[in-house]
């Protein structure tokens, strides 16, 4: 009977997840345009991938983006969660306000940011100019655009992470704090010795998910640099193109399904390795009650 209930679900997973995954790995060994029969190439796609300047640049950008966005988001959301866990005025309002970006459509977010960050007419640069600060070309300067993407990502993700951390904070029993206070621990000691260790399972969960998300970044690049350069190319796109963008472009613009599958397989292996590494490292810092 149990099999009957699980059956349809598993059939779907097998049909729409497992089979395409296996098939993608097979496709990555072929030259296939989606039109004619695939031709078997062996590992040629992979050889090309690791010698292609564009593909290597995509990997570099993906990691830069991850190393920028993940730590900043995590630190900031931890800070906000701790602040909003205390009894401050208008606590409910702030909690909602920080969470709002998480329930807004990413494309809409990007469109509004494009206006705000317009280097000539945007509010951000007008404010910077009024303060006598330099006004960078947030969206059009290849040296700045990655920073812009990281900042917007942080703004978008901080709310969701904050809510999860808040839940985590409230799950920590009062008795630990009381005990610590009785022992005479100061505020910092309590935070680092009690709160952080007890929050570490939540932090671990968020870290793992965020690393995966960052490695799969696509929509924000597509809307920010893709639209500016009309999805065609140039310094701006080269400064921001990620691995998934490369997969999209090769697979659906250039119809190089085999090569795109090879890129997807490499990305899959990278995510797998990163996740495995985190699970290995968690033994050193994650404490379960």
């Amino acid at each position: 009977m149990a099999a009957l209930f699980i059956g349809p679900q598993m059939a779907m997973v097998a049909l729409f997840y497992l089979w395409p995954m296996v098939y993608a790995i097979y496709m990555s060994l072929t030259d296939w345009s989606g039109l004619t029969a695939p031709q078997f190439l062996g590992l040629e796609n992979y050889a090309k991938l690791f010698t292609s300047k564009t593909a290597l640049r995509e990997m570099g950008n993906t990691f830069t983006y991850m190393l920028g966005a993940v730590p900043i988001t995590l630190l900031l959301s931890l800070l906000l969660a701790s602040a909003l866990n205390r009894r401050i005025p208008c606590r409910g309002f702030f909690r909602v306000a920080y969470f709002l970006p998480a329930v807004t459509m990413p494309v809409a977010v990007a469109m509004v940011w494009r206006w705000l960050l317009n280097s000539k007419y945007g509010i951000v640069n007008n404010a910077l100019r009024a303060l006598g600060l330099p006004a960078p070309g947030w969206l059009v300067d290849p040296n700045v655009i990655m920073t812009t993407l990281v900042l917007v990502t942080v703004w978008m993700r901080v709310g969701y992470n904050m809510i999860i951390l808040l839940a985590g904070l409230q799950g920590i029993g009062r008795q630990y704090y009381e005990a610590a206070e009785v022992e005479g621990a100061g505020r910092f000691a309590i935070f680092f010795r009690v709160t952080l260790p007890l929050l570490s399972p939540v932090l671990f969960f968020l870290l793992t998910m965020m690393v995966m998300d960052a490695l799969k970044a696509f929509d924000i690049i597509f809307v920010f640099s893709g639209v500016s350069s009309k999805l065609a190319g140039g310094p701006l796109l080269d400064a921001t193109r990620t691995m998934v963008f490369g997969i999209y472009q090769n697979g659906f613009s250039f119809m190089r399904m085999g090569y795109a599958s090879a890129q997807a397989t490499v990305l899959f292996l990278i995510i797998l390795a990163m996740t495995a590494l985190q699970f290995y490292l968690q033994k050193k810092w994650v404490h379960y009650e």
């Binding site: 345009s33 989606g34 059009v140 350069s229 140039g234 250039f254």
Partner: protein, 418 residues
């Protein structure tokens, strides 16, 4: 027992569902239905009118038209062809048409029944295979032209552009029409050159006009890595950075051409035929156009859109009838409501919608122009397009010397051709 009953019930239900789907709804025996796909929603009306006119002449054929947005078009059409789905007729542009002919995915037409001679070479050429076989019929074309805002010329006391302008005339006028404030910030630009990403209006056309070819005659290698092409690109670069008559590559990315031109911030722009229609609707007699200023070589590259047919169509005879019909006056007269029709005799009907405008600027290239430069590279046209845009962007933002950019681009394009 109970279990078996349940299974039987499910099976019966499923079977009846399948049967319901399989029985044709209307038993129309003699009517052939063709499936037609196009990508531009704004052409829905003219497409329906064309179909209605055809069906009136051919009551035994019905055509069902579907608009597939451009973003999915070239992903879905190949999938429909290769999966053997119902797909008979579809729009193709010059680049993709050539690509599909090379891949042997299109139905060869009986050219003797189609009045191909009524069309000019730049529009029908791309739909003709290397052996002279006809694979499609053009329905409309676009070309690049120079549009200008009359009011800004009047204000600066600069005479309007003419069809006889040269590159230098344009450059001088653009300088005079650029207005700066006391800080040197441009308040008005003489011209808008989307030098970084407009492969058509900037790269293909300027390089062609410089006298350099874009691709070798067989379409199999790059032919633009030479001094003429470099001069053309340097000319554009100097208008942007030396004269500062145009927004630069970064400014162009943040400033939309439509808003700048309609609000009188830009005096001249290069754009294609449909954009003139849009601007005319917005600005009426404040806007006019001339042919592109002449470089060393005459002739503007022209892009044509036409109908082609899937090799796997089940109704080649009905498809052929539709293609025969497309080469006649009626569908071209209908197209004239919307865009420059491919049949030269119908272009005057299009021009009638723009009284007082120099519509000849858009019509003359139909006979004097040239086919769009096409790389005959298997499976890689879109990739060539993207490479051009990438290197153009590097050259025009000053991040790469022009000669270097052209050499790199040529090397990459040639490398696609293995």
């Amino acid at each position: 027992m109970k279990r078996r009953f349940g299974r039987t019930l499910v099976c019966t239900l499923l079977a009846s569902l399948l049967l319901a789907g399989a029985v044709p709804q209307a038993q129309a025996t003699d009517v052939t239905t063709l499936k037609l796909y196009f990508w531009d929603e704004t052409f829905t009306d003219v497409t329906q009118q064309t179909i209605a006119a055809f069906e009136a002449q051919n009551p035994d054929i019905k055509i069902e038209a579907t608009c597939l947005p451009w973003a999915q078009y070239w992903v879905k059409i190949p999938a429909l062809i290769s999966s053997g789905s119902d797909l008979d007729l579809f729009w193709a542009n010059v680049l993709n048409g050539v690509e599909f002919i090379n891949k042997d995915l299109l139905l060869p037409l009986d050219g003797t029944r189609i009045n191909a001679a009524g069309f000019t070479q730049p529009t029908i050429g791309p739909f003709t295979g290397t052996q002279g076989t006809l694979y499609g019929v053009p329905i409309f074309y676009d070309c690049s032209g120079l549009m200008y805002n009359k009011a800004l010329f009047d204000k600066a006391g600069v005479p309007y552009p003419t069809d006889d302008w040269t590159w230098e005339d344009m450059r001088e006028a653009a300088k005079k029409l650029t207005v700066r404030d006391e800080n040197g910030e441009a308040q008005q630009w003489g011209i808008y050159l989307d030098s970084a990403s407009d492969t058509w209006n900037i790269f293909y056309t300027f390089v062609y006009e410089s006298g350099s070819d874009i691709f070798a005659a067989d379409g199999k290698s790059a032919a633009f890595n030479n001094e003429k092409a470099a001069q053309a690109m340097r000319f554009v670069y100097d208008m942007v950075y030396a004269d500062r008559s145009s927004p630069d590559t970064q400014e162009v990315q943040e400033l939309g051409v439509t808003e700048l031109f309609t609000s009188g911030k830009v005096a001249m722009i290069f754009h294609t035929t449909p954009f003139f229609t849009t601007m005319y609707e917005a600005m009426r007699d404040q806007v006019d156009a001339v042919q592109r200023p002449a470089g060393a070589r005459e002739g503007t590259p022209l892009s044509a859109i036409g109908y082609v047919a899937s090799k796997n169509t089940k109704h080649p005879e009905a498809v052929q009838k539709f293609m025969d019909f497309l080469a006649t006056d009626a569908p071209n007269d209908i197209m004239a409501q919307k865009n420059t029709p491919a049949l030269p005799s119908a272009t005057e009907k299009w021009a009638a919608a723009f009284p007082g405008s120099n519509t000849a600027a858009w019509i003359a290239p139909l006979s004097s122009g040239t086919g769009f430069p096409c790389p005959y590279v298997y499976q890689a046209n879109s990739e060539v397009w993207s490479l051009v845009a990438t290197e153009l962007n590097y050259m025009m933002s000053g991040q790469k010397p022009i000669e270097q950019g052209l050499a790199d681009l040529a090397a990459q394009v040639n490398a696609l051709q293995q």
